[in-house]
Symmetry: C2
């Protein structure tokens, strides 16, 4: 079997773990199915005689140690998914990382190349998606020192189960220290349609968008739908519905696609067909390449929400949450990635990422670089998410080239 075929076989096998009826995957963080894919990941390294470390937030590191005591370049992404998510988001980057490592290891073992300056660790970051446990990008952010470990272990899902308990339940509440990191590389699907539209092989990410969330609690008064006069109602769901529409509408204050916004999570209490809602909790998400636009949109929403609360006699509490500033990826890494892609006879362009990624967290800690491959129709976080085998294989080659350079110290040593 060719190296590309071996990669594709592993990729398509992993997609069977938690597979849904419509070609998607549902493998939320620290569920039993996440446990299954984690055991598959660990077994893959153990079969090759390689150690796997699991740290206290459940990040997994498969180690290729060619030079004893040398620090590690990290390559990877995440194996957790959204509910009814896609096969590619995260998994592609982890499995590409595994095969990049295996190919380099084979060459070293065969004597075709010398042991590089640095060792290589393939990472499966815990809970990048944040679907079950908020905030997202959790494991890599703890590793990078951006989030506090104990606080994240105490985070609970909607059923009141903590991260600590959920990780322990699946056997992945680890106690290892992670490896000493000197650099990070990640490849991912674009989750947008720029590359597809322009017919370009690879995106090189030069910066991430400014993002923030608003945690919104609407408090009304619980009452009987069939026995309370309309004029006497203080309906939290009516207020929340107005807010969902405001969050959508505020994008129209700015040039097209300069701001993206949404409410994806909304929970009604008590949620009974014949009871006027007492409380609605919702999370609004605002993103832009320009922090000023997010700030303006936020202020517009706060003003409108205040007016709504007064009009409908509701109490509405709004908290800023999960604020992530724009982060530029180092130019040296962007240029290195571009030259690697060009050397392979492939095309690239610089892109920004609206979405959060583990690389955005790692980029605050060590020299980091990120590549995108095209996404068909730009859709993601759904079963219809798709990238072709051909594009995945091109990305694998580019990632391998980039990692080889980083293992030799290029770009990595700039930041040391």
């Amino acid at each position: 079997m060719s190296q590309d075929a071996a990669f594709l076989t592993d990729f398509h096998h992993a997609a069977t773990i938690g597979a849904t009826d419509n070609d998607g995957v549902d493998r939320q963080a620290a569920t039993d199915l996440d446990g299954d894919v984690r055991r598959w990941f660990a077994g893959w390294f153990q079969d090759r005689g390689r150690r796997v470390l699991v740290d206290e937030i459940g990040n997994m590191f498969g180690l290729f140690e060619w030079r004893e005591g040398a620090p590690f370049v990290l390559v990877g992404s995440h194996l957790d998914t959204q509910p009814l998510g896609g096969r590619f988001d995260g998994s592609y980057g982890v499995i590409a990382g595994m095969h990049v490592a295996a190919q380099i290891d084979e060459a070293i073992t065969a004597g075709d190349q010398e042991a590089p300056r640095y060792n290589l660790a393939v990472v499966n970051w815990f809970n990048e998606e944040g679907a079950r446990f908020a905030p997202s990008v959790m494991g890599s952010s703890v590793f990078a020192g951006l989030f506090e470990l104990e606080q994240m272990l105490d985070v609970q899902d909607l059923e009141g189960v903590s991260v600590r308990k959920a990780l322990a339940d699946i056997g992945f509440l680890g106690s290892d220290d992670g490896p000493e990191a000197v650099g990070y590389a990640e490849i991912h699907i674009e989750q947008g349609r720029i590359l597809e539209r322009e017919g370009i092989d690879l995106g090189v990410v030069d910066r991430s968008w400014y993002t923030q969330k608003l945690d919104i609690e609407v408090l009304g008064e619980q009452s009987h739908t069939g026995a309370t006069a309309m004029a006497d109602r203080r309906d939290a769901l009516v207020g929340a519905s107005e807010i969902v529409l405001m969050v959508r509408q505020v994008t129209q204050d700015f040039p097209e696609e300069a701001l993206v916004s949404s409410v994806g999570q909304l929970v009604v209490e008590p949620n009974s067909p014949i009871v006027v809602a007492r409380r609605v909790h919702l999370v609004a998400d605002l993103r832009s390449g320009d922090p000023e636009i997010v700030q303006q949109a936020r202020q517009t929403l706060l003003d409108k929400i205040e007016a709504l609360a007064a009009r409908d006699n509701l109490v509405i509490n709004v908290k800023d949450f999960d604020v992530r500033p724009i982060r530029h990826f180092p130019t040296a890494g962007v240029e290195l990635a571009e030259s690697v892609v060009e050397g392979l006879g492939l095309t690239s362009r610089r892109v920004q990422t609206m979405a959060g990624h583990d690389s955005v967290a790692l980029n605050t800690m060590v020299p980091s670089a990120m590549l995108f491959i095209p996404s068909v129709d730009g859709v993601s976080h759904c079963e219809r998410e798709f990238s072709t085998d051909e594009d995945m294989v091109k990305g694998l080659a580019a990632l391998k080239g980039l990692v080889q350079e980083m293992l030799s110290g290029k770009f990595v040593d700039d930041g040391r």
Copy 2:
């Protein structure tokens, strides 16, 4: 202890079972706490040497059999509550029924009155509220032959637990036949503010409102909030929010309070902060004293929903559900109740009920009468629900007078 004090003691004791922090009760149908209050109910009859029957849908009947083989007048209501519900809704009627029965039984035992023409059964109907298992008014509707037993036993809550399993789990999936019924009396809090506003002691219900629900499913496309252009989104939650506001707004097409409407239940899938919603399921509730108004409102909503689906490229499925026509209570029962109240030196007026009640189901089967006592501020289905001890005791006297008359055959024999 006076008879009134004995009633109040039992009433306030029952309110401790499932008591919430703010003077409410949370005792949803077939939960452990519902099991607790049911055991208390059964024990009360057993302590008095009386049999309790439990039928196949979990209705409980405490029997006072003074005349062997004679059929039964039923008196009662329900002990289940809404989530974070009040102490009065349902419980007042059951416990008033218990004490009416005990007082009459004492008089018979003491030789102060003869055994009446009919026996008396005090009923705790299963799942009147419908918060956990829809539809509401379940137990009494099965008893009255309006709902099919097996179909109701198969109804599931949001966690996928069936009525059958939930009742079995708390030990109340019975196998008894209910008693042979010849009439039904129920007392309840008004859940409105007419009696309070007019300073009247008791309401005599002459008819129930026309009600119907719409089961609405909004289907969009799941996608990544942080990586999907606004123009490409098909957001089910944006569509659902528009519908919540339409349901509120449609009341303004009619005279004030001629129509009440609401959405009390709404569930988002996948409900993740960074995923555009794939599906939202919601239930709209429409009620009016005039069926024509409900029909007009329903048609307006269907038309607007169709236009919304086309505009936002959503699929929206709407089904009629839980349609309940206006039911008049027999005039003979209304007049009997009025004369009983007058005989006690109390005041009454005729009222309609916007809410569903067990009496509305029983009224399709046997001669039935229903009384209301005042609700402070008219609020209900919440912890703040309140009626005074004084009003409860007045209601107890009125219910006793009504039941005495019915036991002697008055009004009941009209319908035989």
